[in-house]
Symmetry: C2
Subunit: 214 residues, 2 copies
Amino acid sequence: MERQQNRRKHGNTEQAIMNAAEEMFLEKGYKLTTTTMIAEKAGVTHAMLHYYFRTKEQIFLKVLDKALAELQAALQPVMKKDAPFWETLEKGITAHFDFLAKYPRLPQFLFDTIRFNPEVTGRIQERIIDPSRRIIAFHRRIIQEEADSGRIRQVDPDQLLMDIGSLSVSTVMLLQTARKMIPGLGGGMSDGFLESRKKEIIELIRSRLYGNLQ
Amino acid sequence: MERQQNRRKHGNTEQAIMNAAEEMFLEKGYKLTTTTMIAEKAGVTHAMLHYYFRTKEQIFLKVLDKALAELQAALQPVMKKDAPFWETLEKGITAHFDFLAKYPRLPQFLFDTIRFNPEVTGRIQERIIDPSRRIIAFHRRIIQEEADSGRIRQVDPDQLLMDIGSLSVSTVMLLQTARKMIPGLGGGMSDGFLESRKKEIIELIRSRLYGNLQ
DNA sequence: GGCTGGATTAACAGAATTGTTAAACAAAAA
DNA sequence: TTTTTGTTTAACAATTCTGTTAATCCAGCC
């Protein structure tokens, strides 16, 4: 068999380090990830990491920015109302949930970063929190409209959005944690869990809005 | 003014170290807490920590055990059914929520420990997960009874318990995180948030169970 | 074939961390 | 007062981690 080129040139190593760093930082956060661990996972010496990215902080910021960009991109399409209220909301919940299921380590990573790297909270603030405000305002408005017209029960829109957000977030965080405690929990095994959980969350919110009416 | 005794004797130092350790470990987890930080917070040299507790791991286990004991104690009384179903359940939700509001750093601490100290998951398993099974079984039974008799809507009891658990847990975790991002969020400011959040959670569960009926 | 320049490694420096130990100390017992 | 006992400190060893650097390596170009 022809062996892989031991000596990679050009972007190859850089990309390998970047991928390794992404995985490690998402898994363990900034402080508990060592440059040596990243290098090992990428199959190079830790000096390479410093050669390409100068410092641990630099590469961390790149990983963070990438994560924030993905999250930001996922937030955009949630703000279209091209269908009746409930359909729009249900689609929003589903999109939010599916995104988290695809990037299940993102919530914990953000929690970690806010906890232990307060110096970068600004980035999170401006790229996630602030854009979220517009989305929240949008939903707040359409929920309020719907409530005022009596088509759904009276409910504080902020509370409802927190309900949706935290139910989805805790689902993926719980699953990640369960995987640590029950090693036998592979990827396929948890698909059923995620699916039934998503159904339950939607039904929960639907009951909250329409329970006493229809 | 008479000055504090610089040289404390007997249990004084040990207790001071224990308190400092508890605060630091709950705040930052095992690895990110250094014995020097604990000692500093307790106002002694880090050698004292080793004198009284031998190793960092020893004192961590004491802190963990204390936290688990508190959680375990809080789990016990949730299993009495001395009132109609909904009142019992509502009391259970309230107790669970209030406990978490009192120890808001406990969830993150357990998440941390499971993530980064897999060697102690056994302790968590036997003292929390296993006892929880009985409670879950109990609630599963009374929910199932209630559903079968048609007094509440058909619902998967496990899903409902996960709803309750994760809504409360995410509330306190979110609040803790918000405190990091918005420094102006003092203790009193958040009482209102917790109170309205608790009401919403109860209403959410109530709707899920009774929405289409009453 | 030999040169050049980027890529890679090994070795090192400096800081931080856990744990040990010998010496200093303070208070109660003798 | 002297001794004893438990407490505290300062200094040290061993390890780990980040970041630097000088030497080496290799591919393409002359």
